[in-house]
Symmetry: C3
Subunit: 151 residues, 3 copies
């Protein structure tokens, strides 16, 4: 156990994985902020104290809430594979410099992706940051499977 | 390897992580139950043996199915970060008592959250259980990053 | 660290977990393919260069895109628990032959599931492959909790 957290690559993975996971978690409060400021809820019990007429208005979808949800969902679809592949890659004994490049490029690409999504930057900024993150994970998967392959 | 599963903190993490993952998996059958009893499906092939008129009715959304899906989705958004942060936290050598409090509070908050969501408890019960779970994960992340931080 | 990747069960888990994660990641490009060929987008900025009339058409949902998204989402709901339970199970010292059966059956069931979903195979092919994958994960969870249980 102690050995894992004495390893520089694993410590770097732990740091970047925690940062990118916290970033993903922040999308929850961001969605809640849009729900409250835009008045857009999904559950009857969330608007229980309002009049019937107000309820009807508040239980509608709002584009800003849906945008935040799509951003959150895209994080799940990309940060989950990064963690899975990255954890196994970090345990497969890669070079520290190479590993750091992968972790840093991925983390930067996902932070940029969130701004590009929420603030609706013109394309291809969002598409490119999505692609860079995905390629980083593919590169770690390639390195992992070159080292470890037991079918 | 043996060393990991001889560590009390890691064994506790494995137990609570398995429980909370199984709880999340159960949302699949719960959604299927609502699909069948409420007659609400998403795919043509799921209602292939019905008449055209029946198909039309069965391929509509139903609020109970959508509620179960939102609950399942909220689990993904919260249990995934718990596992990521919790695994790294468990490996960073925390005190057993402190670690157990984190794992137990999180597990209890998510089990309560599912009942609050599916049975539509009056707010703020669902909101509070969501917040408690999230704060537990933030606390583990803080402890992890105080111990391990390699940028 | 070195010890983990010298363990045959862990190496097998790393291999199958990477394969099934890459399979899940491929659903992103598959969805993008359907978005482009069917002309169905979610964000204003993705169709910025089109005329107003074209935009209106392109910002509609399309059943093929929604099908790919449901398939991707189902992967998240099932491959995430497999990774969580499978990782802890692999660390709990199972028999190599038993572990390999679990990893292979799960991987095969999810690859079949994706074809069944995207190509709309007649039921119960999709339902069965979903069930087989889920039972495999339940079986690993049972084995894990029989070995390691610290509440």
């Amino acid at each position: 156990m102690a050995t894992l957290m004495e390893n520089e690559v694993f410590k770097a993975f732990a740091t970047y994985a925690a940062i990118v996971t916290l970033k993903m978690m922040l999308m929850g409060p961001v969605t809640a902020y849009f729900r409250i400021t835009r008045g857009s809820f999904s559950n009857e019990e969330d608007v229980a104290r309002k009049t019937d007429e107000e309820k009807k208005k508040l239980l509608r979808a709002h584009p800003d809430v849906e945008r935040a949800q799509r951003c959150h969902h895209n994080d799940l679809e990309n940060i989950v594979p990064f963690f899975f592949i990255g954890l196994l890659y970090a345990l497969s004994g890669p070079n520290l410099t190479t590993a750091l490049i992968h972790f840093r490029v991925f983390t930067a690409s996902r932070i940029f992706h969130s701004f590009a999504y929420i603030l609706a930057f013109p394309q291809p900024s969002r598409g490119l940051s999505y692609g860079v993150g995905m390629l980083t994970t593919f590169s770690m998967a390639y390195n992992l499977l070159s080292t470890v392959f037991v079918l």
